[in-house]
């Protein structure tokens, strides 16, 4: 129905990469919510949100990150974000999300953080 947002799934080492493409708003956030929740249910707790092609995010999209992160971290996992373009990054900044999430330049750097078993921000 909504052609302006798509998610592509792939794997990198032990992590699952969800590549977000397009506009993540109150209309499309349920798609993202479903995707994250499927991964969590399947026990995939090393998640990378690849934001290279993310053109826009509103609080509905940020809310998806917010509502899952505690559960996933409790179980020993994390959601790391990569490749956010500056225009979109300012939204994360306004709300202080960059303090709460590991945000790195690219998918490989996110994967490396998982491999090191480290979390930069806690």
């Amino acid at each position: 129905m909504s052609t302006n947002f798509r998610i592509e799934r792939s794997e990198l080492g032990g992590a699952v990469v969800l590549a977000l493409d397009g506009f993540l708003d109150a209309h499309t956030a349920p798609q993202f919510e479903n995707a994250i929740s499927s991964e969590a249910e399947a026990g995939h707790l090393h998640l990378i949100a690849d934001c290279r092609k993310l053109s826009y995010i509103s609080s509905a999209g940020l809310g998806v990150f917010m509502s899952f992160i505690e559960e996933i971290r409790e179980k020993g996992g994390d959601i790391k974000l990569s490749g956010i373009e500056p225009k979109v990054y300012q939204v994360f900044e306004v709300l202080g999300f960059h303090e709460l999430f590991d945000i790195v330049d690219n998918v490989e750097a996110a994967g490396a953080l998982f491999d090191q078993g480290s979390r930069r921000k806690d």
Binding site: A26, A60, M66
Partner: protein, 160 residues
């Protein structure tokens, strides 16, 4: 078709308070948020905001309209959301109008992000975004009749 790019705008500024006014009215469905953002984008650019600020304006209006759709109309797509945009020399103003159930903005507490995360909540960020983006934000609420959110942002002539 003859055409001209000259806008003879000199005449109005003496008469009207705002130089240019735009209105968009759409059904109260989240499906229309994309169109609402296109509307804001075109007008923000005309007002002279740069790409980053245009995106912030889009976000503020998107959040306001998503709130109307979700809270004022309980996700019923059969109502209407109206967005009015006014450009003046050095500012832009948006008026978001609904006929929904209204609320008391004074009673909405801003929770901090840690608390929201601890409670595994997905909401509570919209008003905070609106307030941090816009220079002035005001509600006029008459539940079921006319609820109006007015918000204004000044154009920085010398951008940092």
């Amino acid at each position: 078709m003859r055409c001209s790019t000259k806008a003879r705008g000199g005449r109005i500024s003496a008469v009207a308070q705002f130089e240019k006014s735009f209105t968009l009215q759409v059904p109260s469905s989240t499906q229309n948020l994309a169109l609402i953002r296109e509307f804001v984008s075109a007008i923000g650019a005309q007002a002279g905001f740069d790409e980053k600020d245009v995106m912030r304006l889009q976000l503020a209006v998107d959040e306001a309209c998503a709130n109307v759709i979700e809270h004022a109309y309980d996700l019923e797509a059969t109502h209407e959301v109206t967005i009015r945009a006014l450009i003046d020399d050095d500012l832009i103003r948006f008026e978001i109008v609904d006929q929904g159930k209204g609320f008391d903005p004074a009673r909405i507490e801003e929770q901090n992000l840690d608390a929201l995360i601890r409670d595994r909540r997905s909401g509570g960020l919209g008003l905070r975004l609106i307030r941090s983006i816009m220079d002035d934000v005001q509600y006029q609420i008459v539940p079921g009749e006319k609820n109006e959110l007015r918000m204004m942002k000044r154009l920085k002539k010398h951008t940092a």
